[in-house]
Symmetry: C4
Subunit: 192 residues, 4 copies
C-alpha cells in the first residue's frame, strides 16, 4: 500500500487545522486600538499553536519520508494523531479567550501531551512495518526530545493550577526545542 494518499490526507487535515484556528480571532466591532487589546491573548495562543502544528507537520513529513509502505494500523495510528491535532483550535481558543486561566491552560497541555503520545504511537507502528533495523528505527533510537517533551507537558499541566504563566513558559520552551527540524532522520538519509 502506498503512502501517497496518507500524506495527502494528513496534509489536508493539518492545513485545515492550522487555518481554522485563525477563525477564533473574532473580528472586533470597534476600529480603535482598544478593541484589539482583548484579542492579544487569543493572538498569542494562536501563534503558539501555529508553531506547534507546524512542528507536527514538519516532523510528520520527515517521519513519512523514512517510511516506505503503510499498513492498516499505520492508517489508524495516523488518524489518531490527527484527532488530537484537531482539538488544537478548541484548546487554543479556550485558553486564549480565558486569558490563560488554570483549567484551560492545563487542558491545552493535555492536548499537547495526547498529540505527543499519538505521534509516538504512530512512530512505533511505522517502525513495526519497516523493521527494527530500518532507517527510522535507528534514527529515533535515542529519541531525546521525544522522550523529554511529555515530561514537560505533564509539568505544565500540574503547574497550570499553581501559576499558569509558568505552564505557558514550558509550552513555549518545548516548541523552541522542536523548532529545529528532526535532523536525525535527515542526516541518516544523507549518510546512506
Amino acid at each position: 500500500m502506498g503512502k501517497g494518499r496518507l500524506e495527502a490526507f494528513s496534509d489536508g487535515v493539518i492545513a485545515i487545522i492550522i487555518t481554522i484556528m485563525v477563525l477564533e480571532l473574532k473580528v472586533p466591532h470597534g476600529s480603535d486600538l482598544a478593541s484589539l487589546v482583548p484579542l492579544l491573548p487569543v493572538f498569542l495562543s494562536y501563534v503558539l499553536s501555529f508553531v506547534y502544528v507546524g512542528i507536527y507537520w514538519n516532523n510528520h513529513h520527515h517521519m513519512l519520508q523514512a517510511a516506505h509502505k503503510v499498513s492498516g494500523s499505520v492508517l489508524w495510528a495516523n488518524l489518531h494523531l490527527l484527532f488530537w491535532l484537531s482539538l488544537f483550535p478548541f484548546a487554543t481558543a479556550w485558553m486564549g479567550e480565558n486569558h490563560f486561566t488554570a483549567l484551560p491552560t492545563a487542558m491545552y497541555g493535555v492536548v499537547l501531551l495526547m498529540a505527543a503520545i499519538a505521534y509516538w504511537l504512530l512512530q512505533q507502528r511505522i517502525i513495526a512495518v519497516e523493521g527494527h533495523d530500518s532507517l527510522l528505527a535507528r534514527a529515533t533510537g535515542s529519541d531525546f526530545k521525544g522522550r523529554l517533551s511529555p515530561l514537560f507537558y505533564i509539568a505544565g499541566i500540574a503547574l497550570a493550577f499553581v501559576q499558569p504563566w509558568l505552564s505557558c513558559a514550558l509550552y513555549v520552551l518545548v516548541a523552541l526545542v522542536w523548532l529545529v527540524p528532526d535532523r536525525r532522520i535527515e542526516s541518516r538519509i544523507e549518510r546512506k
Copy 2:
C-alpha cells in the same frame, strides 16, 4: 481517465468534513470544569463521527487502490457519497447538542444509512468499469460487513424513538466492526 484527481478531491472534501466537525465544539465562556460539562455529549458525538469519517476514508482508499480507471458515472457516484458525508457535521452537532434525543439520533442513523448506500453504489459503479471478474468484484463478493451495516443502521433509526441510547450503542458497535480495515482487498492484492 486517471483516478488521481478523484482521490485528491475526495481526500480534500473528507479532510475538511472531519475537521469542520470540531467547529461545533463551541468554546465555552466560563473557564471552570462546569462549563465543559455541557460539551461532553457534543464531544462524544464528535469522536463517533470522527471514527466513521475515518472509516470511510480508509475504505475509500482501499477501494480506489483496487480500481484502475474511472468513468463519468464513477465521478458522480463519488460526489453522491461525498454529499452524504458532508451532512455528518450537521447530524453530529444536532445529535450532540440535543443530548441524544429521539429525532436527532434517528436522523444521525439516516445519514449513516444513506452514506452506506452511497458507498455501495460507488462500489457497484467501479465494479461495472473494472469488470465482474476484477479484483474488487471478487474481494467484495461476500461483503458481509457491507450488507449487515445497513440493517444495524435501520434498527438504530427505529430504536431511537424507543431508547436513543440503544441506537448509539448500535452505531458504536458498527463503527468498532469497521475499525478493522478492509483486509479483503489488501490480502487479495498481496496474493496476486
Copy 3:
C-alpha cells in the same frame, strides 16, 4: 509549466467551497420535526449548489485533462473562475434563508452566469495555449450546452422578479442537462 499544481489548488478550493456551504445549515435549537422545517429551503438550495459545484469540478477535471501546459494567463483565468465559485456559499445561503424571494434568487442566477462566463474564458485561454487545432478546441467546437446555459441563467435572473420558483426550475433544468459529464472530450480522447 506543469498543470499539476493548478489542478491540486483548484481541487482544494472547490473541495472547501462544496464543504463550507453545509455550514449554512445552522444546527436548530429544538430537537423536534418542526425545528427542521425552516431548514428545508436552505437544504434544497444546498443540494442544488452541491450539484452545480460538482458539475464545475467534473468539467474542470475533463477540460484540464485535455490540456498539456498552462500559461500565466491560464492561472489567472482559473483564479477568476474560482472567485465566482467562492461566492456560491453566500448566494446559496442568501437564497435559501430568504425562502427563494426575488432578489436573492436573481443574485444566485448572477453568480451562476458569472461562473459560466469565467469557465468559458478559462476554456478560451487554454485553447489559446493549446492551439486552435487541439483536442480541446475541436471537442468544444459546437459547444451547445455551454452556449445555451447563459441564456437560461439570464432568463432565470429576469423571471426571479416575476415568479422566483420559475427561476429555480430553470436552474434545476440546466443542472440536470449538465449532470451528463462532458462526453465530447472523453470520446475524442478515446477515438484518438
Copy 4:
C-alpha cells in the same frame, strides 16, 4: 528532501485562506437591495484580498518551480509566510466591516508588508540552498517589483492615518503591478 509535500501543504493552506475569507460576507437577514449595501465594503476588501492571495499562490508556484530541493529552514520560512497569509481573513474583515477607517486600513498594510517580507525571506532561504548561481538567484537578481512593494505598503500604512482611501489606492496599485505573473523565472526556464 523533495518539494512535493511542501507544495501540497502550501496549496492546501492557501486554498483554505482564500476560501474562508468569503465566510466574512455574512448572509444578510433582509432580502432587498438595501440589505446588501452594508456588505459592499466587505465585498470590495474580499476582492482585493482574493487577488493578493492569488498573487502569492501564483508567485509561490513559480518560485518553487525554480527550486529543486528544500531544507529544514526552507520549510520554516514557508510556514512563516503561511502564518502571515493566514492573517489575511482577519485583516480583510476588520478593514471591510469598519468601512476602511484608519487603524484597520493601516493594519491591513502591516499584514501585506509582513507577508512581503516573509516571501522575501523564503526566497533567500531557497537561494541559499540552490546556490547564488542558480536559476532563481539570477531570475530575482534585479527584483524591481519585490523591492518596491514594501515601500508602497509602508506608505499605505502611514497614509491610512491621513486618508485611508489613499492607502487602499496604493494597495490596489501594487496588486495590479503584481497581477502580471513573474515572467522573469518563466522566461529564464524557457531560455535554458
